[in-house]
Symmetry: C2
Subunit: 200 residues, 2 copies
């Protein structure tokens, strides 16, 4: 299973935002929605063996599971609608128990550290970073169950950097161009889909 | 220069569509907008050495030029707004002369064939196709000025296929997964940015 942890520094934690102004009024939720869809969608469906954890302001985590996820379309607006629906159910998340607002989505009352602790045993934690090792030097076979951690339009905070130093197994860069998170996710999938640029 | 020709079979040719319903009411303009932004945006700006030609129902061609393009943001809505603005000026395109609705965008009264004829000398025309040769077998150096042709959510029509047989220099596939056009564009850039998976 491939997992992606998306840090949303400014993303809403309440559902009172408009789907008509995602880039302006909803903390750049547009960008995070593009990352969610990039993680899941292919031309003919959903990648079932993928999980995405959207960290909302280090306060809530919305987890989407490709194995059971429904109503995820490729456009930003319908993905934002899934996020909004999850936030509408945030009060149902109690302690370690998640709310389950719709098939394949869960809302947890935990932030970045709690989420890392929860999933750290699933596979190597990989920070995508321009100063990291080239992905092509690593080999796809070690990354089959990788957990990729990406920030939104802001850099990782000092505290997030500290946690990543403690948790991350690798820092990798995907190429010479600095890209948006959704593009990086597409390229990470491409690297793994092709078995490290070997199978086309 | 890298160029991308995007065929929009159902996309509006009039500007009377709502930015609030791109996936439903505007002929899947959402998907084409994602392709336009994937062609241009990186984390820190716009790829200046890129041109995108959006073919609207084989009737109009809207050409965006990264060298002069302004107000292109990564979100679907603002890109759709650029397309709508271009369509508002469609009547100013007369014969072979384009309308110039905003910096870096032009509207031509020509369809797929006319656009292929116009740009065919700029570089090799590449059809992205699941049955094509693996991009990794081709070599990035031959694709520096490539013109990639992609369809939207529909397959190429028979007539488009006939034109591609006449014009296209290569049919390439980018990997084992069938992806959306915007994802394919991101991977095509990745292949060329890394010089054929060589430079990271």
């Amino acid at each position: 299973m491939r997992q992606f942890v998306l840090i949303g520094h400014d993303v809403p934690t309440e559902p009172d935002f408009s789907l008509d102004d995602l880039a302006g009024g909803a903390g750049r939720l547009d960008a995070l929605c593009r990352s969610i869809t990039a993680a899941f969608v292919t031309s003919h469906g959903i990648r079932e063996d993928v999980r995405v954890h959207l960290i909302a302001r280090d306060e809530l985590t919305i987890t989407f599971d490709g194995g059971t996820l429904q109503r995820l379309n490729p456009d930003e607006r319908s993905t934002a609608s899934l996020v909004r629906k999850a936030l509408e159910h945030r009060e149902d998340a109690i302690g370690a128990l998640p709310a389950e607002p719709s098939p394949g989505s869960e809302v947890y009352r935990r932030g970045f550290e709690g989420t890392l602790e929860e999933i750290a045993d699933d596979g190597p934690i990989v920070q995508l970073h321009e100063g990291g090792e080239a992905v092509s030097d690593v080999g796809a076979e070690t990354l089959g169950d990788a957990i990729f951690v990406l920030s939104d339009h802001r850099d990782f905070t000092d505290e997030e950097g500290r946690l990543l130093e403690a948790f991350a197994d690798q820092r990798l860069r995907l190429g010479p161009e600095l890209l948006h998170a959704d593009q990086a996710i597409t390229i990470a999938h491409h690297y793994l889909d092709t078995g490290g640029y070997e199978r086309f």
